[in-house]
Symmetry: C2
Amino acid sequence: MATIKRVAEAAGVSTATVSRVLANGPHVRPEVRARVLAAVEALDYRPNLVARSLRSQRSSTIGLIVSDIRNPFFTAISRAVEDAAYEAGYTVLLCNTDENPEKEAIYLQLMRDANVAGVIFSPTRQTSVMLTTMKFNFPIVIIDRSVPDAPMDSVLLDNFEAAYQLTRHLIDQGYRRIAGIFGVMSTTGRERRRGFEEALRESDIPLIPELVCFVPARPEDGKEATMRLLAQTPRPEALLASNALLAEGALAAIRQSGLAIPDDIALASFDETPWTALVEPPLTLIAQPTHDIGATATDLLLKRLDDPKRSIRRVILKGSLMARGSTTPISDRPKPNARARTAPR
Amino acid sequence: MATIKRVAEAAGVSTATVSRVLANGPHVRPEVRARVLAAVEALDYRPNLVARSLRSQRSSTIGLIVSDIRNPFFTAISRAVEDAAYEAGYTVLLCNTDENPEKEAIYLQLMRDANVAGVIFSPTRQTSVMLTTMKFNFPIVIIDRSVPDAPMDSVLLDNFEAAYQLTRHLIDQGYRRIAGIFGVMSTTGRERRRGFEEALRESDIPLIPELVCFVPARPEDGKEATMRLLAQTPRPEALLASNALLAEGALAAIRQSGLAIPDDIALASFDETPWTALVEPPLTLIAQPTHDIGATATDLLLKRLDDPKRSIRRVILKGSLMARGSTTPISDRPKPNARARTAPR
DNA sequence: CTGAAAGCGCTAACAA
DNA sequence: TTGTTAGCGCTTTCAG
């Protein structure tokens, strides 16, 4: 394992000069530069990043703190972040918090200890309120969640609008008794609920509290909540799931109950995943530009690293409604007593 | 940002003593220990991991190098690795290689530069053969792939057996003309092909080269390969996909072709994912103990860190066959001209 | 344009 | 039991 010292010896220069050459620094005679480069080559020298980081108090690692990498939304984002980081010569430290504020705190600490260059973070509501009061020695970019007055860059979906649009779609299709399952730990769930309610209100559809659930964003919880919703009488005509994990649970519950989609109950969700187009019927949903979110977040972080005093940016991306088979218009459905009225095909 | 020096001053001891206390070292008077701990508390001191790593030449980061985090198999493994690492006080550096040997080399280099404690790695065939000749200053645990004579721990599925069992299942269900799509870059694909062929041979079913494809393990490629297979006459009766990404593509292709599963073509795959039980019909597959694989790999790595000269271990796990609707017996199928002979339900 | 020297914050001999 | 000291490998003033 060659060190800078050995390279310096081999090239007949000081370590300072080697360092300069490696940093592409100015004030080095081309001839000397060539000699150093040759020595680097010959010894297969690679700078020790740990030493570099200790000395320069900077590093080429960025932290990515998400609640669960198994959530397809975060999986896609991680991939995008990793790709963008790689391009820029950075590596990614990945952490899962399970939406657990304690783990969030621990990992944030760890980021400090590990001297990361910066962090991309998707905090729980609980942590977001702390975030403004805490001091970090690295920049943070918030993704997916909103942290109102935080002095940090963020990139997120227009959740209110997206949920409004999705709910509106359900209403337009003729559904009235619409249930919603939202993630309880995130601001995202709240915002989507607001969009959901706004659409209902606008159409003078009464809000039925029993039809709105806030649960942890996990398939089990989504399933359980759906089971409870399905047990109500009258049964909801449609169900909106606030993310892919909840939708997964909802679908499992509907299947287990032997109900047909959309005839017995329509289903709409957030997040395009590998399976949403493969199930029968394919799911109507709001697709988030996950790759874009990850790439943008990384870009914001790197830009801020470059210029710590640039103005704070908040990037809001739009989701796109993918209307598919799980929410076909109510009137098109061959109802037992309406079949005669419905044109064939 | 308190340093060990300040803590030492505050506690009225030397930095060495602080270090000892922090390392839970022996030979420290309880009274002094208490004083140090108090100072640590008071100053909210946290050791700088970078400095620690530089000095001790060890670190608490483990590298995880997979081909694509979006592959549900690797997603699940990453999660398990991260959990186990967290438990043990380690963090995870995540890297995607896209089965690209160049990227594999770069990341392996990077691991060296970053001074990681160890690496969990799923190499391409191409890299695996190099692996034995390369020297690393950290232990590597191989997952998913096999590296025959490598002096390193590994944990993988009994791929031959699993593929044999899955193919055997198809044969038992009455299928004869069986196609297979395998990943081209991994040893895993090869081994599964061998199990596949062995099962066919054993049943005296002729091997038809046109029915075996090796493609990159991506949905697009799986779809394309399936399209080609479906275009053949006679069409295959069943299709075996060697992993979840290929199965995703295969399913998309079958859907797009307007074919029914299993009536027109049966489908069997590897890897339990969120969607395999949600599609209609649910997919028959070999479920891999992903969490177990990740946890075991991490365990092997930590154990080796603890004792570098312990004997090399190769952990082989068994997959479990989940027989479901996508491969129901051929004779049970209500065929147009057989319906009369088939007992209802 | 180049080198000497001073650390970054920590650990680990070695002394005391 | 504790302190002194010498670095880990690198970057970065400051001189020359």
